[in-house]
């Protein structure tokens, strides 16, 4: 992995303008952001940052693909035009994931302060991030529901949330659990 400046400012800016969520940000503000972005070349299989490393801000994929991992689990795969930044981290906190290039990759790296300033100056930027986060939250919720269904089918206990309440699968009201049990019996007999 090596920092290398191969793109001009206008190239970086034009690329950022194609990133989903940055479409509404004025071009000169994007240029300011681009001017602060550092290019990173990363060969396939190399690690961009490790879990526990000092937070280096946001990474945007210009070419290639990056996987975010937590221990041995793949959390997310970033394709061209997608970004990752752990904005929930406090000052001087460390990365919570490990990022690995799964293809030869070309990235733009923005420092935390630059992203924060862009958020403060351009509401469009924040709005796009909120939309992206909401979408990911929605996907995560669906994933949890699917896992809960799988757990119940396997005879395990349903997962619970903080106060001990089980997570309800969608539409699980009235006689729905009985139907599931009936289905499970038939499956078991089969």
């Amino acid at each position: 992995m090596s920092p290398r400046e191969t793109m001009t400012l206008i190239e970086k800016t034009a690329f950022l303008s194609t990133v989903e969520g940055l479409a509404g940000v004025p071009s000169e503000a994007l240029a300011q952001l681009a001017a602060r972005a550092v290019e990173i070349e990363c060969e396939r299989g190399r690690t961009v940052f490790h879990e526990g490393d000092e937070d280096r801000g946001t990474f945007i994929v210009v070419e290639g693909a990056i996987e975010l991992r937590k221990e041995t689990w793949v959390v997310r795969r970033l394709a061209v035009g997608q970004a990752h930044g752990e904005l929930f981290l406090g000052e001087n906190e460390a990365h919570q994931y490990t990022a690995v290039a799964v293809e030869d990759s070309h990235l733009l790296n923005l420092a935390r302060i630059d992203v924060r300033e862009a958020l403060l100056e351009h509401p469009e930027f924040g709005l796009a991030m909120v939309q992206d986060l909401s979408l990911r939250l929605h996907k995560l919720t669906e994933r949890i529901i699917q896992l809960e269904g799988d757990a119940q089918r396997d005879g395990g206990h349903p997962p619970t949330i903080g106060d001990g309440q089980p997570i309800e699968p969608p539409g699980s009201k009235g006689d729905a659990p009985r139907q599931r049990r009936w289905w499970r019996r038939r499956t078991a007999r089969a």
Binding site: T8, I10, S27, E28
Partner: protein, 905 residues
């Protein structure tokens, strides 16, 4: 010639609608003209003209009653249903009268006269209410010519038919033909609506609460009603003179009908030409206000001429002018006056004025003629004098309407713009009462919030509640109450606080000590020492600040030693605490400013920020150069700005000096306008007006924005119009040039061109933003903000109202510049303005790139170089090479890459 004609006619998109509405009005006026001629001929052939005043009086009274009843029925109907229903009933009644004509009953002429006036007025009023509901002011200006022209053509055809057949067919035929025309109108309108050529009136986007109140509640509507009543009375007086003169000149019904036929032909040909060729031009060029004055001004001349020469040859042209203007441009201009009113209010006001007030005016005219005849005489001279007085009153009403029109349009776009609701002032009595009541709340956060708001907006209201707050169960509330008490030297209230110095909460004890210190109680200062090492670091910092604030000459060296020890400490927290403490307002004569420079050079950013803010709060004017220097760095800019703003007007001169100096670092210069905007004053405006250069887009925009900010805070400041107008013209040029570049670039073919088009669109939008910002320096800012939001609104009616407001607000010269930029303005107008005013002509894509390479907008040049690089435009190599030495590094970088691409290609 063809182009000239195109300018006079509406755009194709409007033409269809205009023609259908014109056809409907054609049928109504053709029918009405036939019936009016039959009415006058019947009346004047069977009754003396002297009976007319009595009829006017009857018309007024009966119309008032009928329209009141009609209003009750029609109020809940849609404008479309009302119009169709009225036309159908009118047609039936005309058939009934036609059947009654041969009976020669003595009451028939009078009854027919009254009924014709009633139904005609209601029907025409319903048509305009329906048309108004479909359109907005700008569209109205475009289509009124055609729609009104249809009406005049109807009058012309009706007059021609009457003149041609008056001697050959009985009058009852006229009435039957008129009924047939109304039925045809109903069919035409139904077809037009079904085919979608004329859309159904949309739902009202506005708040209709006002619709429930009386229409006369607003002064604007009162002036509208007053102008209408004057107008109707004047026309009644002139009509009476005219009819008396006609009766004296022509004897029998056939001659009178024939004369009227010819009169209406001349009138309607002239009106048609004026309506089709002049109305749109006059309304767009002069606006509704000046155009509406033409009718009373001309009538004043006519009445004056009648005074000098009371004869048919002066009375007839006066009546001709009255009718010519009243049914052409004046009608269109008067309709415009209703647009600022909310939709439902507009409908009610129109019905109220046209069917109520104007008929009352008819009656009043009759009453005035009868009164004049009884008291003096009813000769043309007498009636002309009365008419001149009424015209004077009419012009006064017009003057008020003209000013009210712009004001009401401003209100209208504010009302329509949901994003621009008026904020509720916290200083309102009711709000303050609620806040005071909240101080009695047992909830800590409620009390604290109320205290903050009251301290900010009405501090004296807090004083009587302080004793109670000092006994509040929440220690945070007690502490805050003591802090407020200490803020005014502890003398704001003679509250006894001894017991609070023994409070279980350390913050309360500390604040109680501060009150003692503020009151100058001896021995207090030493008692702060115990808090310096408090477990709560915030309390330690507050204690240090209290020591700085209240240290007298005897304690000065001890406090200085404390501060120096902290400044020398290895921990940034300690150094920051010292920096923050130096912001405390000093009660003594000497401060500790000399300690700040070291803190301004601290290695820790948080310490430097605290020192910058403290420099301002402590009034360290000698540190202004350091604060200005810190503006140029992103990380210290906010703190430096706060520090400078805290120093107030004393920093304006050094700020102005640097702002005007191009040698100063661009980042510092760009940071100066926001600082000046927070010190609103005439001197700050003068300093900002020095910056006229446009080479730095960011600096120019921030300067303009700062001036808007100051103007909004202090609207009475003097802003010289000359520099504002010069810059306005340049912004208009930028907007037009960006549009020509966009046209030249067309549909983007690659990433580079897409990006260039995006930047051009930004420049296009930014130029309009600047145009409105500059106008807001010379006109009411909040209304122009609403207009700016309005012209970009998705709703065509809001866009139209906003554009009409802007056009009405500006002088003719400024309007000619700004109007073509407004939404829905024809592209030809912008092209013509670009060409005639700025010498800008359409370009090819390559010419556009070449021009951008030569331009002074560095960012656009950079983008153009990127396109040149991507497309290998070798023909532009010269332009690329000229940019290799550009001042802006972004341009140089893009130029060197572009050159490499071209030379290698």
């Amino acid at each position: 010639m063809g182009q000239r004609l195109r300018q006079l006619l509406p755009e194709p998109r409007d033409l269809n609608k205009a023609l259908w509405l014109g056809a409907v009005l054609f049928a109504i006026t053709c029918s009405y003209t036939l019936v009016k001629i039959a009415r006058d001929a019947l009346f004047l052939s069977r009754l003396p003209a002297g009976a007319l005043p009595l009829v006017y009086l009857m018309v007024g009274v009966v119309t008032l009653v009928v329209t009141w009843i009609y209003g009750k029925f029609a109020h809940r109907q849609s404008p479309l249903r009302s119009l169709i229903g009225t036309a159908a009933v009118s047609a039936l009644s005309l058939v009934g009268f036609a059947l009654a004509f041969p009976t020669e009953k003595s009451w028939l002429p009078m009854a027919f006269y009254v009924w014709v006036n009633i139904y005609g007025l209601i029907l025409v009023s319903q048509f305009w209410a329906f048309t108004n509901s479909l359109t907005e002011p700008r569209e109205a200006k475009r289509i009124m010519g055609i729609v009104g022209g249809g009406g005049i053509l109807g009058g012309l055809v009706g007059g021609w038919a009457a003149a041609g057949y008056a001697r050959r067919v009985p009058l009852s035929w006229f009435s039957l033909c008129a009924a047939g025309l109304l039925i045809a109108m109903v069919i035409t309108l139904t077809i037009a609506v079904r085919r979608g050529q004329v859309e159904r009136p949309p739902g009202d986007p506005e708040d209709d609460e006002e619709a429930a109140s009386s229409p006369l509640q607003t002064p604007y509507v009162r002036w509208l009603a007053f102008a209408s009543i004057c107008s109707v009375m004047v026309t009644g007086l002139i009509d009476y003179q005219f009819k008396v003169a006609v009766q004296a000149t022509y004897g029998d019904a056939g001659s009178i009908a024939s004369f009227y036929g010819r009169f209406f032909i001349v009138l309607n040909v002239a009106a048609l030409l004026l309506q089709l060729l002049g109305t749109r031009w006059l309304l767009q060029r002069l606006g509704a206000g000046p155009v509406a004055a033409a009718l009373p001004a001309g009538l004043a001349v006519g009445c004056a001429a009648t005074l000098v020469m009371p004869a048919f040859r002066t009375i007839m042209p006066t009546r001709l002018w009255d009718q010519l203007m009243r049914f052409s441009v004046n009608k269109s201009a008067t309709e415009m006056f209703y647009f600022p009113l909310p939709f439902q209010v507009r409908r009610r006001v129109k019905a109220f004025i046209e069917a109520g007030i104007e008929r009352f005016g008819d009656a009043l005219a009759g009453f005035v003629i009868l009164g004049a005849a009884w008291l003096i005489d009813s000769r043309p001279i007498t009636l002309s004098v009365i008419a001149l007085v009424l015209i004077g009153l009419w012009l006064i009403a017009w003057w008020n309407l003209r000013a009210g029109y712009v004001r009401e349009l401003g209100r209208s776009i504010k009302r329509m713009n949901a994003a621009d609701r008026d904020a509720v002032s916290l200083r309102e009595r009711g709000v303050l009462k609620q806040l005071v009541r909240a101080l009695d709340s047992p909830y800590e956060l409620v009390v604290l919030q109320a205290l903050e708001l009251l301290e900010e907006n009405a501090a004296p209201l807090v004083d009587p509640r302080l004793p109670k707050l000092l006994a509040h169960p929440s220690s945070r509330v007690r502490s805050r109450a003591l802090e407020i008490l200490a803020g005014e030297d502890g003398m704001r209230s003679a509250v006894r606080i001894e017991r609070l110095t023994r409070d279980p909460d350390p913050w309360v004890r500390f604040q109680a000590l501060r009150v003692h210190a503020a009151r100058g109680d001896e021995g207090t200062l030493a008692r702060f020492d115990e808090y310096l090492a408090a477990p709560d670091p915030a309390l330690g910092r507050a204690a240090l600040a209290a020591l700085v604030e209240y240290a007298g000459p005897a304690d000065r060296s001890r406090v200085r030693a404390l501060l120096e020890a902290r400044i020398a400490d290895a921990s940034p927290d300690e150094r920051r605490a010292a920096a923050e403490a130096l912001a405390a307002p000093r009660r003594g004569t000497e401060g500790f400013h000399d300690l700040l420079p070291k803190l301004l050079d601290d290695s820790d950013l948080s310490v430097r920020r605290a020192a910058l803010e403290s420099a301002g709060a402590a009034g360290a004017i000698d540190l202004v150069p350091r604060l200005i220097e810190a503006l140029g760095k992103r990380e210290t800019e906010p703190a430096a700005r706060h520090g400078l703003v805290a120093l107030g007007e004393s920093v304006i001169d050094p700020l102005a000096e640097r702002l005007a100096d191009p040698r100063v670092d661009v980042e510092i210069r760009r940071a100066l306008p926001p600082v000046l905007s927070e010190i609103p004053s005439q001197r700050a405006i003068d300093a900002l007006l020095q910056v006229r250069g446009r080479e730095d887009v960011v600096l120019a925009y921030r300067t303009l924005k700062a001036m808007n900010h100051i103007h909004a805070a202090l609207p009475n400041l003097v802003i010289p119009p000359e520099p504002v107008l010069e810059d306005l013209e340049l912004d208009i040029r930028d907007r037009l040039l960006a549009e020509l570049h966009l046209e030249a670039q067309g549909e983007p073919q690659d990433l580079g061109q897409s990006f260039l088009v995006r930047v051009l669109r930004e420049r296009h939008a930014q130029a309009l933003n600047r145009v409105f910002r500059r106008l807001a320096l010379l006109h009411p800012g909040d209304e122009l903000l609403s207009a700016y939001l309005g012209v970009q609104h998705a709703d065509a009616r809001i866009r139209g109202n906003a554009a009409e407001f802007v056009e009405s607000l500006l002088t003719a010269e400024r309007r000619a510049l700004v109007a073509p930029l407004l939404p829905d303005a024809p592209v030809e107008e912008r092209r013509a303005l670009a060409s005639s005013r700025f010498g800008l002509e359409p370009m090819t894509a390559r010419e556009s790139l070449a021009r951008l390479l030569e331009g002074d907008d560095a960012w656009l040049s950079t983008c153009a170089l990127y396109v040149v690089e991507g497309r290998r435009e070798r023909a532009l190599l010269g332009g690329v090479e000229r940019n290799l030495e550009a001042a802006d590094w972004r341009v140089r970088e893009a130029a060197s890459h572009a050159r490499l691409a071209l030379v290698g290609a």
